[in-house]
């Protein structure tokens, strides 16, 4: 027991409203709430609370709230409560601090410093309720030779591409880190939306092969669950080189989350930590990547696009250029705000760069080198709204991966405790009693709703700009203006300051 650390959040119960129905007690996997038969009242132990809001949401009388504790150490702008607590925690345990979900630190959010254009007078806005407004696109290599058949018609010389009805895909989240029901929700939503979900590095559960045409399967350094049938089942294959939340290290799935089913899907023993190597041990250089790309293409008869996913790091543009020349069809870039089921806190909070800057650099570099058409660019790592999607595409992305937003749609309240495996919302857990809390009938519908809503908003914003195809927005940086950005940021983003003319 660590006597030093006081809980950061407190459970506050309105005794005038609590009817002691004990729903909170039954719903808390962290065992915060307890009924005291002597007094007939509920008791809460705040130090167990992770602030996931399950009890708050389910309390029928709205008697609960979680508040940030006003218990504080002597105020210190340098040594804030959390920093001090982390020192206590490590002094207590001797271990690396673990965290989940994306970097929560108050770094600048460049999405919020870019503004979108609209048409006035010289050019009409287009009304998406009355005119076609295309958000359909194809992902993959576009450069291809012009060849004609004997009748003079163009031959299809294109490499395989992925067709998307919306410029949004669900990013890689492995079975193991998230639950069966979360995966089912994502798969069914991707199918209904005409887009894709991504298995992450945990293999593909046998029940989900039927969603193959909407599935991107991942091959990561741990090679969990990778075999011929897995590759063949998918619409595309993603090589995971890195992840925005933890650039430079591999995935980590705590043994507690490796159930029988997860063990079978991953092809690893039950209950033992699954720790992916930091590098792929067959890729120590760019030419090695090319070999893996082509091995995967050979294995699947050149019928599927290959995506290479990397974390946004300092030398991102040069790395992306190398990937574009490695035979990959799509580059996925994950920003430093990207989520995770478990990452060392220090890495999550201090390694990598913002996706906005990484994207702008990569898109420009690939154009400077004349190879932008050789690859599509997917970005993720905290795409929070349809406006972020529009800005990302205007900067040069082909489409966006959403992970955290998708989990929020499923009920996640960003308590950032996925690594504990006791997710009260049935998402980041393998405990059957908790997994069943996420009914995929509800979950998939909420995902469909979210993406449909975003797509409507994207269409509204496109229409305002007078653009009726998402493809005419891609890389259209004149549609963006910066606000509160310095010269270097404007230069890297390749945009003008608000108020500057066209």
């Amino acid at each position: 027991m660590n006597i030093y650390i006081r809980p950061e959040y407190e459970v506050v119960r309105d005794e005038n409203r609590c009817i002691a129905c004990r729903v909170c007690e039954r719903q808390c996997a962290n065992e915060v709430h307890r009924f005291d038969p002597e007094t007939g009242r509920m008791i809460a132990e705040s130090d167990k609370c992770v602030n996931c809001h399950r009890c708050v949401c389910l309390c029928p009388t709205h008697a609960l709230k979680i508040v940030k504790s006003d218990d504080t150490y002597k105020t210190n702008a340098n040594w804030d409560n959390q920093t001090i607590n982390e020192v206590y925690k490590q002094a207590n345990s001797g271990g690396v601090l673990l965290s989940s979900m994306g970097n929560p630190k108050p770094y600048p959010v460049f999405w919020d410093k870019m503004l979108i254009n609209a048409s006035q007078v010289t050019n009409p806005p287009i009304d998406p309720l009355r005119e076609p407004m295309e958000t359909q696109l194809w992902l993959g290599r576009r450069s291809a030779a012009i060849e004609r058949d004997e009748k003079g018609r163009l031959k299809n010389t294109l490499a395989p591409q992925l067709k998307l009805n919306v410029p949004i895909l669900f990013s890689a989240m492995s079975y193991g880190s998230i639950s069966y029901n979360a995966h089912e929700s994502l798969a069914r939503a991707a199918e209904e939306l005409g887009t894709y979900y991504n298995t992450g590095e945990g293999g593909l559960h046998k029940d989900f092969y039927k969603y193959g045409k909407n599935t991107i399967v991942q091959v990561a350094s741990g090679r969990f669950g990778v075999f011929e049938g897995y590759l063949e089942s998918a619409a595309a294959i993603e090589i995971k080189m890195g992840q925005g939340a933890k650039p430079g290290i591999g995935g980590h799935l705590p043994g507690a989350k490796i159930s029988a089913d997860v063990s079978e899907t991953r092809m690893i023993p039950q209950g033992v930590d699954a720790i992916s190597p930091a590098p792929h041990h067959d890729i120590y250089s760019i030419e090695d990547l090319r070999q893996l790309v082509y091995s995967l293409k050979e294995a699947t008869a050149y019928k599927k696009p290959v995506i290479v996913k990397i974390a946004a790091v300092h030398n991102i543009a040069a790395i992306a250029s190398g990937i574009a020349r490695s035979g990959a069809d799509v580059i996925a870039i994950d920003g430093y705000r990207g989520g995770t089921g478990a990452a060392p806190t220090r890495i999550r909070d201090n390694v990598g760069i913002p996706i906005e800057l990484a994207l702008a650099e990569v898109d420009q570099r690939l154009r400077d080198e004349g190879i932008r058409d050789d690859v599509s660019i997917l970005v993720g790592g905290s795409i929070r709204s349809s406006a972020d999607v529009v800005k990302a595409i205007a900067l040069g992305a082909d489409a966006c991966y959403i992970g955290t937003a998708a989990l929020l749609a499923l009920g996640c309240h960003l308590c950032r405790t996925c690594h504990a495996g006791r997710c009260n919302w049935g998402i980041a857990t393998q405990r059957p009693d908790l997994v069943k809390r996420l009914n995929p009938d509800i979950g998939y519908k909420r995902l469909v709703n979210l993406v449909t809503a975003w797509n409507h908003e994207i269409q509204e914003m496109m229409g305002g700009m007078g653009i009726n195809s998402i493809e005419a927005l891609r890389g259209n940086r004149l549609m963006l203006r910066g606000l509160g950005l310095n010269e270097a940021e404007l230069r890297i983003l390749g945009i003008k300051y608000a108020g500057e003319s066209m």
């Binding site: 389910l58 009388t61 069943k436 009914n439």
Partner: protein
């Protein structure tokens, strides 16, 4: 007819339905006022056994034993298929409580009559309140093939 069905696969055993039922049938418009500090008499009960949970309420059987066994004619099946109990006619013999194979009829709090789920047609809610508040769609109100009982 539309009935309430429970899918055990999604029932979490949170017991919210019981409280929402008791509130719906309390005649009060505030859940705290209705339930705070009072014994709760729901018409739906969640059966728990280890990891299995199941909310049980009246099936509104096509040929309902409770209706057939009622000695005072208080229980009847309406044209809409809903099995209802007339409190004025009920003499409180509780035969129906004994014969219901599901345990879905229970003594009313006053002890002078029986009570059962009437799909919230007898209160101001109009639609089953347990269904509306089930957080996991475990309790649904829908049309399915006839149930024999």
């Amino acid at each position: 007819m539309k009935r309430i069905y429970v899918n055990e696969k999604w029932c979490l055993g949170c017991h919210l339905c019981e409280y929402e039922c008791a509130f719906a049938n309390s005649g009060l418009d505030d859940i705290v006022k209705a339930l705070k500090g009072k014994p709760v008499y729901p018409r739906v009960t969640v059966e728990d056994c280890g990891e299995v949970h199941f909310a049980v309420n009246c099936r509104h059987c096509s040929d309902a034993v409770c209706v057939r066994s009622c000695i005072s004619g208080a229980l009847s099946k309406g044209d809409d298929g809903v099995v209802r109990i007339d409190r004025e006619k009920c003499v409180g013999c509780l035969t129906c409580v004994l014969v219901c194979p599901y345990g879905a009829v229970m003594p009313a709090p006053d002890g002078h009559a029986a009570m059962k789920c009437q799909l919230c047609t007898d209160n101001g809610f109009g639609e089953p309140n347990c269904v509306k508040h089930c957080p996991n769609n475990a309790i649904v109100f829908e049309e399915r093939a006839e149930v024999r009982a």
